[in-house]
Every structure is written in C-alpha cells, then in structure tokens.
Amino acid sequence: MSSGALLLLLAVFVPVGGAFLLPLLGRWSASARNIMAFLLVLVSLACSTRLLLTVLTGQTAVYKFPFPLGMSFILSADGLAVFMAVVSALIGAIIVLFSFDYISHYENQNEYYFMVVLFLGSMTGLVYSQNLIFLYLFWELTAFASWRLIGFYRGRKDVLRADKAFLVTFFGALAMLIGFVFIYQQTGTFDLAAMKGLALPGLVVGLILCGILSKSATLPFQTWLPDAGVAPSPVTALLHAAVLVKIGVYVFARLFLMTFVLGAFWHTAVPVIAAASALIAAGAALIETDIKRVIAYSTVSQIGFIFLGLATGSLVGVVGGLLFILMHGLAKGGLFLSAGIIEQNARTKDITRMGGLFATMPVTAAAFAGCAFSIMGIPPFGGFFSKYFVIAGAVDSGQLWLALTFVLGAVLTIIYLFRLFNLIFLGPVKGIAAREGSRLMVFCVVLLAVLSLGAGALINYPAMAVRAAVAQMNGIVK
C-alpha cells in the first residue's frame, strides 16, 4: 500500500472507528475523552493536510478494495476532495475545542462527542469516496449523527425537529439513490471514475439534485435548517453552517463538475433555484428575531451563492464557489460559536431583548464583527475574494442578470448582518448584561475570525489549492 493510500485510510477510519471508543472512554474520564476526540479530528486533519501537499504537486492518491457488482470501495484524494477535507477537519477541530467548555455542563456528553467525531469522520469519508454507494453510505451516516446531535437537549421540540431534519434529508437521499441506481443500470458500476463524461437524462439529474438540495438546505428543502437551531451552538456551527450543508455543495461539484455532463436545461435551472434560495432566505434573515435562525437563514442564502458560483461553469466562478466554501465555513462557524457564547450567557436567543453587549463582551463582539465582515464581503477578509470571484464568474459566463441578483443578495447580506450586530452589541442594555465566555471558547471564536482575515490577506494559498482542484474538472470554460 502506498503512503497516500494509508493516509487516506487513516484520515477516514481513525475518526470513524475512534468515535466508538469515546463513550467507553467517557465512562472512565471526561477530560481524557475530550482530548481523545480532539486528537482524532487532528489526526484526520493532519492526514488530509499531508495529502494536500501531495495533490499540490499534481499527483493523486487512491486506495481501492475491489467488491463485486461495481461496489468497490474506492477512496481517492484529488484536489477537490482534499481541499474539502482540510476545510471540514480544520473547522471541525476548532469546534470540538470549543465544545470542551460549552457542553461541559449538560447530560449525554458521551453521545455528543461520539456523534461529533463520527460525523467528522463520515464527512471525510464522503469527501474521499469515489464510489456512489459508499458516498451514499457516509452521507447517511452524517444524517444519522446530525439527528442525534440536533436532539441533544431531548426536549419534545428538539426531538421533533431532529426527526424533521433526518426525514427531509433521508427522503432527499432516497431520491438521490434512485438516481444512482438509474446510473448503475446504464453503466453497470457505481465507480465514479468509470463514469467520467457521461451525459445524464434530466430526470436523473433532478433526482440527484433533490438529495443535494435537501442536504444543503436550499429551496425548496430549506425549512429544516433554521429549525435545527434548537441544537447546541457548536452543533449548529458544525452541522448547519460549516460542514453538513457543504456536503450538498461538494457532491454537486463532485458529480456535476467533475464527473457528469450537465444538460443545458440544468445550466439555467440550477442558478435560478440558487438565486431564488439566496434572495428568499436573505429576506427571511432580515425579519427573524432569533439569533440562530437569522444566522441559519444567512447560511441558506450564502449556500445559494456557492451554487451560483459552481453552476456558472466558468473557471473564475467555480474557483470563487470553492473558495466560498472555505471562507463561509470559517466565518459562519465563528458567527455560530459567538452566538453560542451570547446565548449561553444572555440566556435568550431573542435579539430584540439583547443590546449593548459590546461593553461586557468586547472580545466576542470583535470576533463576531470580523466574521460578519467576512460574510458581508468586506476586504481584506476572505469573504470578499470569494464573492468577487463568483460575481466575476457570473459576468464572465455572460449571465449578467445573475451577477445583478448576486449583488442584490450581497447588499441584503450586509443589511441583515448589520442589523444583527446592531441589535446585539450596540445600543442600551435591555436584558441580562452577559459576561464574556470562558477563555477557551473566546479563543476559538477569535481564532476563526483571525483565520477569516488571514485567508483573505494570504489569498494566494487557498487559491492555489482551489486551482489544483479546478484543474481536474471537466466542462469548465477556461
């Protein structure tokens, strides 16, 4: 086995397998469990980072275990996969670190760490999977983990919404599986590498899109995501802002940019869906009063932009879309985690009852502002570059109205995020004057804000990785 294959296996199976040890470890010592969880994610991050270096030299790593019926287990590290794996593991590791303090006074911590690590491991597995069946397998594992995590507080409402999230994504995934079986009948295999350049019938594309859109909470499947805000904040940050919803985007890129050829109809339909989703969600974010719901709708809206970028089909647009995944993950993770600190200390999620928190929690406020700037697209934060690329991509491909829609969306983003910041941190103190969070929690938030800034200031490095990914795609107007 080559070292690349070994790294792939480690990146996936260390967290997936190790997750099962965490509940056992937790019976013995809580802090050992926490550190173990963090280490598991770090190992995965390290392996993926090492693979990133390999990929940047233009090579790819593959691990293959043959099974009959075209169900071979194939892990493959190409530019797109490695980029995605590094992003999710990086954000995941920070979130796990944040959880140490945030989650420490609730029940079911064993299950929490189990599920978080399992989730991150499956996410890595999904990203590297080169076979539709195993992609589906990891896809459902993430759905399962998020089901348990959303229902973490065990209240009636929590569990109902967890069920809702699970069901919506499961139904979407089933539709997608039908699409996969359809492809299987045509090609006799589930191996993606063998399908390169295949043109799919419209129905199949629609079915697969059902799965993708339901996972990434895009219109018309968006409702579960704001509802899932009942979960603990690290969970919402992890699943519903930074990582889980990106699965849909990633699979879109993997299937429709790297493997299949998308028909002309879908080249128009996907941007329209994305634009509608972006604008409607932005409108909803403007009127919501629950801090987490605002951020969640903002996520739905931003995901629309990512789709827009990927669907333009131009090189710049796709680069922007991929960069957007990184920037949005970092910044949105930071926003959700700050929201978690605020929610825990202010004991409410209603932004109309907050105000003036800047005085009592300045560090969090600053970090929040930094992340918000990145999402708004203010230079030199990372979000600026990704947005710029996406707009440029839309103009590039001659879809001027798309670019205009996008600018409108960007303006809305700025408005609702300012409103949010204003209501929470500025003005007179209305409710409880919340204190700053614990040192570790604040550190995590600041780290994310700094990373957002750094990714923008040093945009060359992420752009390099993204270019390596785009170089392997087909069907891109260069």
Binding site: P68, E140, R154, D163, L167, I178, F182, Q185
Partner: protein, 464 residues
Amino acid sequence: MIYLFIFIPFLALIVINLLPQGEGEFAGWAALAVFSAQLAAAALAACGLIGLGGGWLDQLLHFRLLSDRTGLLLLFLAGLVGGTALLSGWRLRGASRSNFINLLLIALTGINGLALASDLFSLYVFIEVVAVSSFVLIALFRERSGLEGSFKYLMMSALASVLMLSAVACFLVAADGMSFAAVRAALAVPGNYLARAALGLFLCGLFIKGGLVPFHGWLPDAYMSAPAPVSVFLAGIATKAAGLFTLVRLVRLAPASADLSAVLLLVGTLSIVVGALAALGQRDMKRMLAYSSISQMGYIVAALGTGSALGNAAALFHFFNHAVLKSQLFVNAAAVEEQTGTRDMDRLGGLAARLPVTGTTSVIAILSTAGLPPLSGFWSKLLIVIALWTAGHQFYAAIALLASGLTLAYFLSLQRRVFFGRLRPELENVKEAGAALLLPALGLSALTVGVGLVFPFILGMFIK
C-alpha cells in the same frame, strides 16, 4: 445428519416431558441447548463443515428430505429466533412455562420440517404444525385479547389451508404426484391451465398465511395480543416460515412468467406501502411493529417477483435481516413492557436514559430496517432495488425505495415517543430489563452491525 434437525427437537420434547418437571429450570436449559445446537449445526452446515447426507437413516426412513442453502438459512434463523423467544420467555413460571417450552419445541420441529420438505403436501402439513402451535401459544395466558387474536388467526389460517388443499387437489389431477419435481414438471407444460390455477390458489393461501396485503387483517391482532415472548417467535420466524419461506420454495418451482411476476410485485408493493402507512398511525408499540412487519415482508415478495437470481438472493437476504431485526424489536418491546407495564407509546418517553441497552439496540434495529447504511438492512434493500430496477420494474423500485422513507418516519416516531426525548416523571424508577432480554437484544444487534460491515466482503459469495 440432516435427520438430526428433525429428531433432536422431537427427542428433547419427549425427554423433557418424561423427566420430573420441578420448577421447569431443566426444561428451559434443555430447550436452550436444542436451539443453540441447531444454530451451530446450521451455521456449520452452511460452511460445508457438516455433511448433509441422510446416510443409513435414508434407507430406513424414506423421508426424502431436501437439503439446500435456502433450507439451511431457515434452520439457522429458527434456531436463532427460537432461542431468542425462549430467553425472552425465561421469566414465565409454572404451567405457562412448561407449555411455552413444549410448544416452542413443537413449532421448531414444524419449521425444520418446512425447511427440509421436498413435497408440496408435506410442506402443508408442517405449515399446520407451526400454525397449530402458534394458535395455542398466542392464547397461552388465556386472557381476553390473546383468545381473540388466536381465534382470528385460526380462522384465517384455516381458510388459507382450504385454499392450499384445493391447490393440492388440482395438482393431483394436473401433476404426477406432489413432489417438487413433479409439480415443477407440470408447471413447465405450457397448456397446463389447471396447474397454473393450482399455483394461484396456493399463492393466495400463502399470502393469507404470511399476512400480506390485502389478507393482512389478522396479523396485527395476533402479534399484538400474543404474550411478549410468543410475539417474538411469531414475528421473527413462525409466520415468516409458514408464509414467506414457502412462497420462496413455490415461486422457484414455477417457470418465470409475466403473470406471476405481476402478482408478486403488486402484492409486495401494496404490502410495503399499506403496511408502512398503517404503521404511521399506531400508538401501541407492538401493533406498529406488526404493521412494519407487513411492510418489510412486502419487500421480500416484491424481490421474488423479479424472478432473477439476484432478486431471489436479495429476497432471502432480506428474509434473514427481517427475522433478525423484527425479533430484536419485539424483544425490545418486551423489555419496555416488562419494565414499564405498558406498550402505549403515548405514555412512554425518554426511556433511553433508563434502559440504555434496550434504547441503543432498538436504534440500531430501526435504522437497519429503514435501510440506513452500513447496517445489514441497507444492503438487502439495495440489492432488492437493484434487482427490481435491472429487471425493468423501475416504478416498483422507486416505490420500494421511497417507502423506506416512510419506514424511517414511523420508526422515528416510535423512537421519539418511547426512547428519545425527556424522561417522563412517572417513569423515573424504571430499571433496565434483565439479562434474559438484554443478551438476545445485544446479540442480534451485533449480528445486524456485523453482517452489515462484513457484507461487501461476502457479496460475491452471496450472489452465486
């Protein structure tokens, strides 16, 4: 060696009843030994480590047994589920206990006979053995619902028997005897309408016996009203053996034809959808599981409808999964009922905190039933869908696949109302069930997870 499968339970029955009874402890251990021995023997035989010849007994007895892998699968499952049922009934005392054990052994003999019979009428006789012992088992405590469920089952089962016997009569005219070979030969003759009609009658009878839509009326009542350990046995193996296993045997006799395929697909899909929809509306835990059972059996029938080798293999695999999963869920239901005294899901909640093992194993079972990878249920459903799809029944495949969303929906509602969620104050003092219920639950879910993980590796072997 194959005769042992029939005679060991029979001899154990005699020995148990000849010896002085005492508290019935001995009988329980002896029966457990029988079930475990059968489990081990079937597993070893499937691996080819035990020969399946009749030897000198063949000369002596002329039973004309049929030994193939399909039969071994049923033997294995009978040992597994029978042992599970026995353990979950370990708490029974007095006359109930000895009757329970005796009838379980008789039913086991019946199932073994079913697995080994090579003759249509023998098949019928052993179906009746299983059925009669099931009637009595359901009414074991002689309380209200048990008697009613038992009588309903008896009546429907007798109607099914009448249909099967009419089929036997038709085959007497249409075929040269009752053996599988003769029936197969008769069915292969193109103009033999009588044999076709007989096949249809027999199928109808089996649909009733198996409780498939539209003949499913008795099944939820029987499952729900039976004592907990009995419902494990009934749901896990008894009705499946009588209805579905026989169906597998029968379908393999008939040459592939569009009519047969259409009937099986229609009944299968109807069962899948109707069972799942009905399960959504239940508040009694066991009743929901019963409807879920109907729905899952639909998958097996639909897979048989493809008529392809892959479809048959997938049907058998799902048969295996379904037996394991359903008996595990019924064991969990038994644990819940035993500890809380109710099966009404609206009066339960948050039990995972108090029954951690039961809660966790039931999550595994429901996810596997709903077809969540990488558990075993996913692979069988995937194979069924692929088989349906490649056989050109895309529509049915899509329905079957989407119906697993319904499966997840009703099972999530079960989880939400029983295990997940906050603990109700009145359930504060509930404790975890005893080892007799936990061991089977753990063993069966280990099997679910294990088979799911190992399955890709044995996929190639499985398809052949």
